[in-house]
């Protein structure tokens, strides 16, 4: 605690209360690695809180948050209580976690994580910000294990902004975790293991696969898996790209899809009510980025991932990563979670363990693959295709750095500005495009467009996508209603020392009154004030 006499009362120092809930280990994400980490940590004697946002509210699902659900969920998702039962039924390991003494919080969003470090000493302890549908609260941790999984990569084409276009993780969640998938016939984009496994999952769920569309000339995934897919009578069309999805209107979404050979040639049309983008996944690094952990670009691991000390350790001594959020790799998820728990337990015991060495990287180049898709999609689609659905920003708006439509047409000089004029002044930065075009500024928090905007910027300015700086994540990393996020429990100390700005009374004395007898009057009025 700092000497109170020397602390500016309007500063944040000593203002945050201690968290209302505490655990030795908080695990975010109850997928295979998170559950394994939680069980192992609890068996090792730690108090463990395992948090998972599923079942997410149906309104967030409508914003494709956290996964790309594409509006293809049944009404079953409206019943949260039923969905909690369904999630327990779908994952027997959750029961095992309970039995091991883990406190399991389902339907709880982790919207932020904060600990002291460069630029912040205000936290009384390291803590995650959680919320359910009613309120938000803070939970203090000694060790944090992030097992937040991955998001869906989504790319744009004509008609992608209608119900029925979704991601592989979203489809998996709706079929398995929620049992609430509203589609019947699925066209799958991609042919990596992700796409092949998605096809097998769809067939095994008793649904139909229209075809797999692969932009490259060869199937990208495992030959055995591809043979299994073909064994179901499913065509894998290589060297093709999707041109458009169309529907019958009336809000029902996709009914047909047209694809063409990348090299040119005759188009083909498939009947389908769902288009599943299984082109790639994106490690879910939101919370790690909010914490200020060091990231690196690893195209063999899916893109921007936490820099690791080995298997699970990060630049933040008390933050471990496990599963897909650490980077996409074939490592066994449960073993990964257990390795994180072992390090967490050792740190809690004051006997830190060395992190295991990381296995050799695979040869996969995720960025190159994503870029091939984006290039083909840009070749067959025009500038009018919307990239950012929330803000209605098109590909053409992006490359023209066009001001948003609600500002009216740009002036003559503004119309001359474009991506090239920005690039002439220095390397492109996605956050700068956000500010000027509003792409990535919407309610879905850029889940649907963050990666494709980076791909388009890279291609339009001829730089590798790895060189486009990550558009940063900020809390809350889930869109939360004000009534939920608000600190209804704010302590009196915060309330009574709140100033709208720095609380420097002399700052607001009208210039003409400085040094006059009126100055004292102003200073009196302005002290303790809540001025503009």
């Amino acid at each position: 605690m700092t000497d109170a006499k020397l602390v500016d009362r309007y500063s944040i120092t000593n203002r945050f209360p201690s968290a209302s809930q505490k655990a030795d280990v908080v695990v975010i994400g109850a997928g295979p690695s998170g559950v394994a980490a939680a069980i192992a940590a609890a068996k090792g004697g730690a108090s463990v809180l395992l948090v998972d946002e599923n079942p997410v509210s149906s309104s967030l699902m409508g914003l494709d948050t956290p996964l790309y659900f594409g509006g293809r969920m049944t009404r079953a998702v409206d019943n949260k209580a039923r969905m909690i039962e369904q999630i327990f039924a779908s994952d027997p390991l959750l029961e095992a976690a309970f039995e091991a003494g883990v406190e399991v919080a389902l339907g709880v969003y982790a919207w932020g994580a904060f600990q002291n470090g460069p630029g912040i000493a205000a936290m009384p302890e390291a803590a995650v910000g959680l919320a359910d549908e009613e309120r938000s609260w803070m939970v203090a941790y000694k060790q944090l294990i992030l097992a937040t999984g991955s998001r869906d990569l989504s790319l744009s084409f004509q008609g992608w902004d209608q119900p029925g276009v979704m991601g592989a993780n979203g489809l998996h969640a709706l079929i398995h975790r929620y049992d609430a998938f509203a589609g019947n016939e699925v066209l799958i984009l991609g042919s990596s293991d992700l796409a092949l496994n998605t096809a097998i999952m769809v067939v095994e769920a008793g649904l139909k696969v229209a075809a797999l569309i692969e932009v490259r000339d060869q199937v990208q995934g495992d030959a055995g898996l591809a043979a299994k897919v073909r064994g179901h009578g499913i065509e894998i069309l290589t060297g093709h790209v999707i041109v458009s999805a169309s529907g019958g209107g009336g809000g029902g979404g996709v009914e047909r899809t047209t694809v063409v050979p990348v090299a040119g040639g005759d188009s083909r049309t498939f009947t389908c009510d769902t288009i599943c983008q299984a082109i790639g996944l994106v490690p879910a690094i939101e919370l790690f980025n909010v914490l200020g952990g060091k990231l690196s670009v690893r195209t063999d691991l899916g893109g921007h991932v936490p820099q690791r000390t080995g298997l699970v350790g990060t630049s933040l001594a008390n933050v471990l990563v496990a599963g897909d959020c650490a980077g996409l790799s074939p490592v066994d998820a449960a073993a990964h979670g257990e390795a994180a728990a072992a390090l967490a337990l050792a740190a809690l015991a004051g006997q830190p363990l060395a992190d295991e060495a990381l296995a050799a990287a695979t040869s996969l180049d995720a960025h190159a693959y994503h870029a091939d898709w984006m290039a083909a999609l840009m070749k067959v689609g025009d500038d009018s295709i919307v990239v950012c659905q929330c803000e209605e920003v098109t590909r053409g708006d992006l490359t023209a750095v066009r001001q948003p439509r609600y500002l009216g047409p740009p002036s003559k000089v503004a119309a001359k500005r474009d991506i090239q004029s920005l690039a002439a002044d220095g390397p492109l930065n996605q956050d700068q495009f956000k500010r000027l075009t509003r792409a990535c500024m919407g309610q879905c928090q850029a889940r649907r467009c963050r990666e494709q905007v980076a791909l388009i910027l890279a291609q339009s300015s001829n730089v590798p996508v790895a060189k486009v700086p990550l558009a940063g994540y900020r809390a809350p990393v889930r869109p939360l209603p004000m009534s939920v996020l608000a600190a209804h429990d704010e302590p009196y100390d915060m309330t009574s020392n709140w100033d709208v700005w720095f609380g420097i009374a002399s700052q607001w004395v009208p210039y003409n009154d400085i040094g006059t007898e009126r100055e004292a009057m102003h200073l009196e009025m302005l002290t303790d004030s809540q001025h503009i």
């Binding site: 700092t2 020397l6 500016d8 309007y10 500063s11 944040i12 120092t13 945050f16 932020g112 904060f114 470090g117 460069p118 630029g119 912040i120 936290m123 803590a127 910000g129 938000s136 200020g292 948003p404 500002l407 740009p410 002036s411 000089v413 503004a414 220095g426 700068q432 500010r435 000027l436 509003r438 919407g442 309610q443 900020r474 809390a475 809350p476 209603p481 004000m482 009534s483 996020l485 608000a486 600190a487 704010e490 915060m494 709140w498 100033d499 709208v500 720095f502 420097i504 002399s506 700052q507 004395v509 009208p510 210039y511 003409n512 400085i514 102003h522 009025m525 809540q530 001025h531 503009i532």
Partner: protein, 381 residues
């Protein structure tokens, strides 16, 4: 290291004050070069509430005169909107807002109290917890991110130059006069220099024997998804500053700051904190019928303050310096004009800036930060 010709005037810092100064200089035909360590407007200039209503400043009249013309003068949109309502949820706030309205009136800007019925009509999202408010009729607000780029592009359109990603390592002096600035690659010569480098200004000026007392801090804001348009952009109060953007988002800040130590390259990180919950609580107090509106982002900016919270706009020999002490965005059209005048004529043509001279801090205690409780408790950024 080679010495190259830089420009007649080099502006160090492509924030809103430096960009506006450079733009005003370019308008007068001066050969001007802006150097920035990163991207223009990347720090506090692009991370603030966008308010343009500063009755306390000697630049107030010029601020209010210029803003309505800025889109046309720059050639690019700033999203400027005029008018502001300030709403109170406590008697204490109401007392202060009334005082503020009176002070506005005394300083030549119409302002008046508004009744609850008018508040309900103009701010449908507000609820029964609002006790009253004031209407500042000529106060205004703009979009900081669009405005900084507008200055930069307008400057380029006039032939001015901007070099991004070019940190100035030191001011180079010879015979007691600054002759250029040193970058990673070269010394760039100039006849005079404008130091508008925010938190880093003190470090640069110290190198030529000028002691600019400033302390830096981090402040935070939140943003919601778009709300129904209120028709008056700036509705704040309840301990917050902020605005409804032309897209409809509510962008608001306020409350406690965190004092920091900022290195010569500027802040490397701008962490957020759970303060987003406290900001949200107040925003919900302001618009209590908008409880379902989602908060989708937050951000933090690092800004500097002088010991009395007032700007330093001053020229010593051929070094002109400007720090707006945490209130720079809205005043930028006028502050750039003032800097242009100081550089070219040695004197501001439209306002008395005598009380904003650096010399007012002569004799300041070297421990002033500690004495005010403004020391950083965090690791440096």
């Amino acid at each position: 290291m080679s010495t190259q010709k830089g420009a007649t005037v080099i502006v160090v810092g492509g924030g809103v004050s430096g960009l506006s100064a450079a733009w005003w200089l370019a308008r007068s035909g001066v050969d001007v070069l802006v150097l920035d360590k990163g991207i223009v407007g990347w720090e506090a200039s692009g991370r603030n509430g966008g308010g343009a209503s500063h009755f306390q400043s000697p630049l107030f009249a010029e601020e209010q005169r210029l803003w309505p013309m800025m889109d046309e003068m720059l050639g690019y949109s700033t999203e400027y909107q005029r008018g502001k309502l300030v709403l109170a949820t406590t008697e204490g706030q109401l007392k202060h807002y009334r005082y503020m309205a009176e002070t506005f009136c005394e300083n030549g800007s119409p302002a008046h109290e508004i009744d609850l019925q008018e508040i309900r009509e103009r701010v449908p999202m507000s609820g029964d917890n609002i006790l009253g408010g004031v209407h500042l009729t000529i106060a205004g607000q703009a979009n900081p991110q669009r405005t900084v780029q507008a200055y930069a592009w307008a400057l380029q359109d006039l032939g001015g130059r901007i070099q991004q990603h070019t940190p100035v390592l030191r001011l180079v002096s010879e015979g007691g006069k600054v002759i250029g600035v040193e970058t990673k690659d070269a010394i760039l010569g100039c006849d005079s220099v404008v130091v508008a480098a925010g938190p880093q200004s003190a470090i640069l000026l110290a190198g030529v024997g000028i002691d600019l007392p400033i302390a830096s801090a981090r402040a935070e804001m939140i943003v919601t998804e778009p709300a129904p348009m209120m028709g008056i952009g700036a509705v704040d109060g309840n301990g917050l500053y902020g605005r409804q953007t032309k897209r409809g988002n509510l962008a608001y800040g306020g409350g406690p700051h965190e004092w920091l130590d900022v290195g010569p390259m500027g802040p490397s990180v701008r962490p957020g904190s759970p303060l987003v919950r406290n900001l949200t609580k107040r925003l919900l107090g302001l618009f209590s019928k908008a409880g379902t509106l989602r908060v989708i982002r937050s951000w933090a900016g690092v800004i500097e303050n002088t010991p009395d919270g007032r700007p330093v706009i001053d020229r010593i020999d051929n070094v002109t310096m400007i720090t707006m002490s945490s209130v720079g965005f809205g005043l930028s059209p006028a502050s750039g004009h003032a800097v242009r005048d100081l550089v070219m004529d040695g004197k501001c043509s439209f306002a008395d800036l005598e009380l904003l001279k650096l010399s007012r801090f002569d004799g300041l205690s070297p421990n002033w930060r500690a004495e005010k409780g403004w020391l950083s408790h965090a690791e440096p950024v």
